[in-house]
Symmetry: C2
Amino acid sequence: MQKHSCLLLRGFAYRHKVTGEGGRQIMSIHMKGDVVDLQNSLLRRSDHNVQALTNIDVAYIPVECVRELAFDRPNVSKAMWYETLVDASIFREWTLNVGRRHARERAAHLLCEFALRLEVAGLGAQLHYELPMTQEQLADALGMTPVHVNRTLKGLEAEGLIERTRRSVIIGDWKALATVGDFDPNYLHLEPELGTV
Amino acid sequence: MQKHSCLLLRGFAYRHKVTGEGGRQIMSIHMKGDVVDLQNSLLRRSDHNVQALTNIDVAYIPVECVRELAFDRPNVSKAMWYETLVDASIFREWTLNVGRRHARERAAHLLCEFALRLEVAGLGAQLHYELPMTQEQLADALGMTPVHVNRTLKGLEAEGLIERTRRSVIIGDWKALATVGDFDPNYLHLEPELGTV
DNA sequence: CGAAAACTTGATTCCGTTCAACACATGTGG
DNA sequence: CCACATGTGTTGAACGGAATCAAGTTTTCG
């Protein structure tokens, strides 16, 4: 078990798991403000891996401190639990995405999710942002091969839904992309709901 | 938002999401002892659906009570949070399963998970149990079509890994099935770890 | 500048879907 | 108790989306 949790101050990180055969599935992408290995810190055995996607700055927080906060301060406890719940909600959507949508829809969905999350984090505009992942990493997030990611993105571009240069993405027609990706932002639980949990 | 959480006393239930095109993905299966819609109760908007798989008995618990327990009693709080974390861990494994494993491995994995969970819940033996799902429901859990579930199960049977009659499953060779399914029970976090969270 | 990483493209293969028919159970009402 | 309807499981044939294999090209960076 880790001795520290780490709070992401700058850059991107991701969590992933690997099959016995070497297939990798990225479970989630994290950005500024996320406490990235909270879950591994609290469960005795870590069941997944955390890795940096770009250069990052992190603040290490000793696990004992996290626990103290988590259990002695009701408000902190609420906030942390709430994070866990939102996390789980995003996992569910990703499972749906990978399990029940075609490559084109999956990719569109992920691009929409990024757009919203980056904007909320103050790291880009909804319709024009830098995607901090290689196509190989996208493939691991989408449960497909890098080759097919390439073709799929090209396809979306050919349809006029997006434009892209190297890593930047411009969403030409948000509504159309969201439709293709069957994207409904509910699952991100972005609206403040402090009164709830 | 729901007014009640419900504790499953007998029978099986599942959580699922549906795409705009009608594809359904089952996110998790629940059995005796699980509090099934805790997450929907605590987040303001529910992002998934809960449904009974068999006849069930449930105990309804008013959400206010859940919250009171959750935030006034540190030990209850720990336990509930712990449940949420294990839940999320299982979601992650399912995402990996659906995203990065072939049909045969997926099916084998699910059969192994069931075996263990049913035994822990006191509802069957690890090597011989009743599967409370139709092949169509299995398909929705595995992200494949019912037809292919049928063929895949038949395949596992032909290989001598399992036997089956209608709904019951007999695992002929646990080790082999676990190998095929790339099954490592860590993610279920079955060992008691009360000292941890 | 040169090497490695990332991206692009084409040809081929294959796993899983789709479509369609049928078999077998289960259950219900006459 | 049978007739019939419905849900579930089984099987076959054809199709298609994505994987695989393999070769380029472009970008990045030491």
